[in-house]
C-alpha cells in the first residue's frame, strides 16, 4: 500500500507543478495579482508531495520491500543501512526522483528568499521552474516509475552495484544534482526577464548569488566524483574524459563563464544578451548531460541502462524547453539595450576574454563527447576521440585563461593602461618563469606542459596574493586589513587561488607521478621514489556482503615504517562481481597508492599496482577552495542589504504597483 502512496504523491506533485507553471505566468502577463500569488503555495505544495514520494521510496529501501521492482533490483538483505539509503539514487528511476526533489527544494528556496522582489517577476521565475518540474515529473511517471510492483514479492533483491557501495558515492550524486539543477534558477531568471521584456541588469544582480551557490555545488560534486574514481576504480586516475564526466564538466565551464559575465552585467550593465545566452546554455548543458547519461547514445563507464524511449522523452523535453528559450531569446534580444562603453584594455575586456575561452572550452568538450555521433552521421565510421584530444585542446584553450586570469582583478573597469598592468606584474612573471624552469633543470625530464603548468600555478597564486596585499596597502596591517574586502571579492580571490592550487596538483601528478605494475611474492619489496613497499602476504577477510582477499603492505622510507596499506579484492555475494579496493596513504605532497591485481601462481605471488602520486590532494583541495569561494561570494552582505532596502522601499510604495528602485551601486572591490 505504501509504495502506491508514493506514486500517488508524485501524481499530485505533477498536478501542482502544472498549476505552478501556468497560473502565475498568465497572471504576470495579464497583471492578475491573485493568479500570481498562486506561485508560492503551488511551489510549496509540489515540494511537499515530491518529498513524500522520496520518503516513501527511502522507506521501501530501508524496510527491504522487495515487492517494489526498483528496490529488488538495487538492494538485498545483506546491504548495510547507509547503502540502502544511498541505493535510492543508485540507479536511473530513483536518481531521477532525487533530481526532481532537488529542483523542488531550489524552487522553495527561491520562493522563500525572494520577498524583496516584484511579484510579477518572481511569479514568472517560479512558473518557469514549474515547467521544468512538469517535464521531469512526467518523465518519471511515464517512463521511469520507481514504485512499480512485482507481485508476488521477491524473497531477496539483486544488489546495489558494488561500485556504488562507497561513502563517496552517498554524497556525490546529491551534490552534483544540486549543482546541475541549481542552474535552473539562473535559467528561470533569464527567461522571466525575457518574458517580461525588461532585460536590465536588475535580474542579473538577483540571480548572482543563486548562480554562485549552484556553481559551488557543481564544483564539489565533480570533485567528489573524481576523488571517488581515484580510490575506487583502482586505476589511480582522477579524470578520464568519459562522456558522463564531460556531461558534468560542460555545464561547469558554461557556469564559470556565466558567473563572470554576470559580474559585468551587474556592475557595468554590459553583455546583457550574452549573460542571458550563457544562463540558457548552462542549464541546457545540464539537461544535455542528463540526456547523454540516460539515453544510451554514448558508451560510458557509468551510463545508466539505455532505453530509446527515455532518450526520446528527454530529447523532446530538451527541445521544447531549450528550443523555446532560444526562440524567445531571438525574439526579445533586439530590445535589449547595450550597456556601458569600454575600451580594449579594461576589466570588461578581461572578463569577455574569460567568457570566450570558457565557452570555447565547453564547445570543445561538447564536440569531443559527441564525436562518435558526428562521425557516424557523416559516414566516417565508428570513431571516438580520447584523452589525447581533450588534453591537448584543453591545454590550448586554458593557457590564455591562466595567463590573463590574474590581471582580471587588477584591471580597472572601462579603461586601463596595458603598460601599467604589464609593468606591475613583471617581477611576479619572472618569479613564475623561474618556478617553472628551475624544476626542469633539477629533474631534467620535465615536459613543456609540466614547465608551463608549474609556472602557471605559481603565477596565479602569486598574483592573487599580491592583489590581496595591494588592496589592503593602506590598512595598518596588510594581513589584518582583509575585512576591507567584500565577501564577494574575497570569494573570487579564494576561488582564483584554488585554480592555482589545482593546476599545481594536476601538473605534478601528470608529470611526476609513478605507476608500476609488478609481480610480488610475499616478503618481496618494491621501491618507488624513495618509498619501500614490502608485500607481507594476502589474508582472507569477510565483510557484511562480500569476501575479500586483503593484501598487506608495509611502506617504509629510510628504514622507518610510515604506513601499512591493506588493499582488497572483494567478491560480492550477490551477482559475484569482483571489486578492487585500493589502499592509500594520503599526504599533502604525495599519495602512496597500492591496489591488488590477480594471484599469479600457487606460490602466493600477486600482480600488484604501485603508484606514487605527488600533490594529487591539491587537485581536490583546489576544487574545495573554488567551492568555498563560490559560497563566500554568494553570502556577500550586499545582496542582503539590497534585499532589505528593496523590501523597505516596497513597503513605503505600497499600493503604487511600481517596482521599487534599487539601492545604490555598491562600491567595487578595487
Amino acid at each position: 500500500m505504501i509504495p502506491e502512496l508514493g506514486q500517488f504523491a508524485l501524481i499530485l506533485a505533477l498536478a501542482m507543478a502544472v498549476i505552478q507553471g501556468t497560473l502565475p505566468i498568465f497572471g504576470a502577463q495579464m497583471g492578475k495579482t491573485t493568479w500570481m500569488n498562486v506561485a508560492r503555495p503551488a511551489a510549496f505544495g509540489q515540494a511537499t508531495f515530491v518529498t513524500i514520494a522520496l520518503a516513501v521510496l527511502t522507506y521501501a529501501f530501508v524496510t527491504q520491500d522487495f515487492s517494489v521492482v526498483y528496490v529488488a533490483q538495487n538492494s538485498n538483505l545483506l546491504l548495510p543501512i547507509p547503502y540502502r539509503v544511498s541505493a535510492v539514487w543508485g540507479a536511473h528511476e530513483g536518481s531521477l526522483l532525487l533530481w526532481v526533489w532537488i529542483l523542488a527544494v531550489w524552487t522553495v528556496a527561491v520562493a522563500l528568499f525572494s520577498r524583496s522582489q516584484p511579484d510579477g517577476f518572481i511569479a514568472r521565475v517560479i512558473g518557469v521552474m514549474g515547467w521544468i518540474s512538469v517535464g521531469f515529473l512526467l518523465f518519471t511517471l511515464l517512463t521511469s516509475n520507481p514504485f512499480l510492483r512485482h507481485v508476488p514479492a521477491l524473497p531477496d533483491g539483486n544488489d546495489l552495484n558494488p561500485l556504488l557501495q562507497d561513502p563517496g558515492l552517498i554524497i556525490h550524486p546529491p551534490m552534483l544534482y544540486t549543482g546541475y539543477v541549481g542552474f535552473s534558477v539562473a535559467f528561470a531568471f533569464a527567461i522571466a526577464a525575457l518574458l517580461e521584456g525588461r532585460v536590465d541588469s536588475r535580474w542579473v544582480r538577483w540571480s548572482r548569488p543563486w548562480t554562485n551557490v549552484a556553481w559551488a555545488f557543481l564544483t564539489i560534486g565533480i570533485a567528489l566524483g573524481s576523488w571517488w574514481a581515484y580510490y575506487e576504480l583502482g586505476w589511480g586516475g582522477w579524470w578520464f574524459w568519459d562522456p558522463v564526466e564531460n556531461a558534468s564538466f560542460m555545464p561547469w565551464l558554461a557556469g564559470t563563464a556565466l558567473i563572470h559575465s554576470q559580474a559585468v552585467t551587474d556592475k557595468r550593465g554590459a553583455f546583457k544578451s550574452w549573460t542571458i545566452l550563457l544562463a540558457i546554455s548552462a542549464f541546457s548543458l545540464s539537461l544535455l548531460g542528463t540526456f547523454l547519461v540516460r539515453s544510451g547514445v554514448l558508451t560510458s563507464v557509468h551510463a545508466f541502462a539505455s532505453d530509446p524511449e527515455r532518450g526520446m522523452f528527454i530529447l523532446g523535453f530538451l527541445f521544447v524547453l531549450c528550443g523555446g528559450a532560444l526562440l524567445l531569446y531571438a525574439i526579445r534580444a533586439p530590445g535589449i539595450a547595450t550597456g556601458g562603453q569600454f575600451s580594449t584594455v579594461s576589466r570588461e575586456t578581461a572578463l569577455l576574454t574569460n567568457n570566450l575561452f570558457m565557452a570555447g572550452s565547453a564547445a570543445m568538450v561538447l564536440v569531443g563527447t559527441l564525436y562518435p555521433l558526428i562521425a557516424e552521421a557523416a559516414g566516417w565510421g565508428k570513431i571516438s576521440v580520447g584523452p589525447p584530444y581533450f588534453g591537448l585542446m584543453f591545454f590550448i584553450l586554458m593557457a590564455p585563461i591562466i595567463l590573463l586570469m590574474p590581471y582580471g582583478p587588477f584591471t580597472r573597469w572601462r579603461s586601463d593602461n596595458a603598460g601599467r598592468l604589464v609593468r606591475d606584474s613583471l617581477p611576479l612573471l619572472a618569479v613564475s618563469v623561474v618556478a617553472g624552469v628551475a624544476p626542469w633543470i633539477v629533474w631534467q625530464d620535465l615536459s613543456i606542459r609540466g614547465v608551463l603548468g608549474l609556472a602557471g600555478g605559481i603565477w596565479v597564486m602569486a598574483m592573487t596574493i599580491k592583489y590581496l596585499l595591494h588592496v589592503n596597502r593602506s590598512a595598518k596591517s596588510r594581513w589584518l586589513g582583509m575585512p576591507r574586502l567584500s565577501r564577494a571579492a574575497l570569494g573570487m580571490l579564494l576561488a582564483h587561488l584554488g585554480v592555482g592550487v589545482f593546476l599545481i596538483g594536476v601538473t605534478m601528478v601528470e608529470t611526476r607521478g609513478i605507476e608500476k605494475d609488478v609481480a610480488m611474492k610475499p616478503g618481496e619489496s618494491f621501491e618507488a621514489n624513495g618509498y619501500d613497499f614490502q608485500f607481507l602476504g594476502v589474508n582472507r577477510v569477510d565483510g557484511p556482503n562480500y569476501q575479500a582477499d586483503q593484501g598487506v603492505f608495509s611502506v617504509s622510507r629510510g628504514g622507518d615504517v610510515i604506513a601499512e596499506l591493506r588493499p582488497e579484492k572483494r567478491g560480492y555475494s550477490r551477482g559475484g562481481q569482483i571489486m578492487t579496493e585500493a589502499a592509500i596513504d594520503p599526504g599533502l605532497t604525495r599519495d602512496l597508492y597500492v591496489s591488488l591485481g590477480e594471484p599469479l601462481d600457487e606460490t602466493g605471488s600477486w600482480a600488484v599496482r604501485v603508484y606514487f602520486k605527488p600533490f594529487i590532494r591539491w587537485i581536490w583541495l583546489g576544487a574545495l577552495m573554488m567551492m568555498a569561494g563560490g559560497m563566500l561570494a554568494a553570502s556577500d552582505q550586499r545582496y542582503f542589504r539590497e534585499a532589505a532596502a528593496a523590501r523597505k522601499a516596497r513597503a513605503a510604495a505600497q499600493g503604487d504597483g511600481e517596482p521599487a528602485a534599487q539601492g545604490d551601486e555598491a562600491p567595487a572591490a578595487a
Binding site: 530509446p308 531569446y329 531571438a330 534580444a333 565508428k382
Partner: protein, 176 residues
C-alpha cells in the same frame, strides 16, 4: 529580427537532430569490414615456444575460433571459463591471439587460469591485432576452413552470445 540572433537556436536544432540520430542504436556495435573476407595473413611466433611460428595458411582446412586476449585484461578472465568449456567441447578448435602482452605474464596467466588454447599466437606489438581491427580485448573471430572470417564478437563471450552470433553459422558444412 536579426538573423544572427537565431544562430543559437539553429545550432541547438542541429544538435538535436544529431542526438536524435543516435537514439536506439547500440554504440558498442562495431561493424567489422572483415566479415565474409579472407582473414588477414599472419605469421607469428607461438607463445609457448617462440622458435616456432604459425601462419594463417597453416590453419587452412580447419574451421576455428581465434580468441584475442591478454593477461592484463580483466574481461578476458570473465570469459575464460566459457572459452575453456568451448575448447573442451572439442567441436571447434580455439586458438588464442595473445595481444599486447608480455610472454612471462601471459604464461603465468595461463598456468593460473588454465590453458584451453590449441596454440597461442604471440603478438606483443599488436601488429596482427591491428590487421584484424582489434580495438580491445577480448574479441573473438570465427574463421572458416578456407580462411574466411565468418563472424566476430567484441567483448566477453558467453553461451548466449555464442548461440546468437556463432552457432547459426556452424550448421553449414566446412567447404573443404
Amino acid at each position: 529580427m536579426k538573423l544572427t540572433l537565431l544562430l543559437p537556436l539553429l545550432a541547438f536544432v542541429a544538435l538535436g537532430v544529431l542526438l536524435k540520430s543516435g537514439i536506439g542504436k547500440d554504440p558498442t556495435l562495431v561493424p567489422s569490414p572483415l566479415i565474409a573476407k579472407p582473414a588477414p595473413a599472419f605469421d607469428l611466433p607461438l607463445l609457448a615456444d617462440q622458435e616456432q611460428r604459425l601462419t594463417r595458411d597453416d590453419l587452412l582446412g580447419t574451421r576455428y575460433l581465434l580468441n584475442v586476449w591478454g593477461s592484463w585484461c580483466p574481461a578476458c578472465q570473465v570469459e575464460h571459463p566459457y572459452i575453456t568449456e568451448l575448447a573442451e567441447g572439442g567441436e571447434l578448435p580455439v586458438y588464442g591471439l595473445n595481444w599486447k602482452d608480455e610472454a612471462g605474464e601471459a604464461k603465468r596467466w595461463l598456468d593460473y587460469f588454465g590453458n584451453p588454447y590449441r596454440a597461442n599466437l604471440y603478438d606483443p606489438s599488436g601488429r596482427t591485432g591491428i590487421d584484424f581491427g582489434v580495438y580491445g580485448a577480448p574479441e573473438t573471430f570465427l574463421i572458416d576452413a578456407d580462411g574466411t572470417v565468418l563472424a566476430k564478437h567484441v567483448g566477453p563471450l558467453d553461451a548466449q552470445i555464442f548461440a546468437e552470433t556463432f552457432a547459426p553459422l556452424l550448421t553449414a558444412e566446412p567447404e573443404s
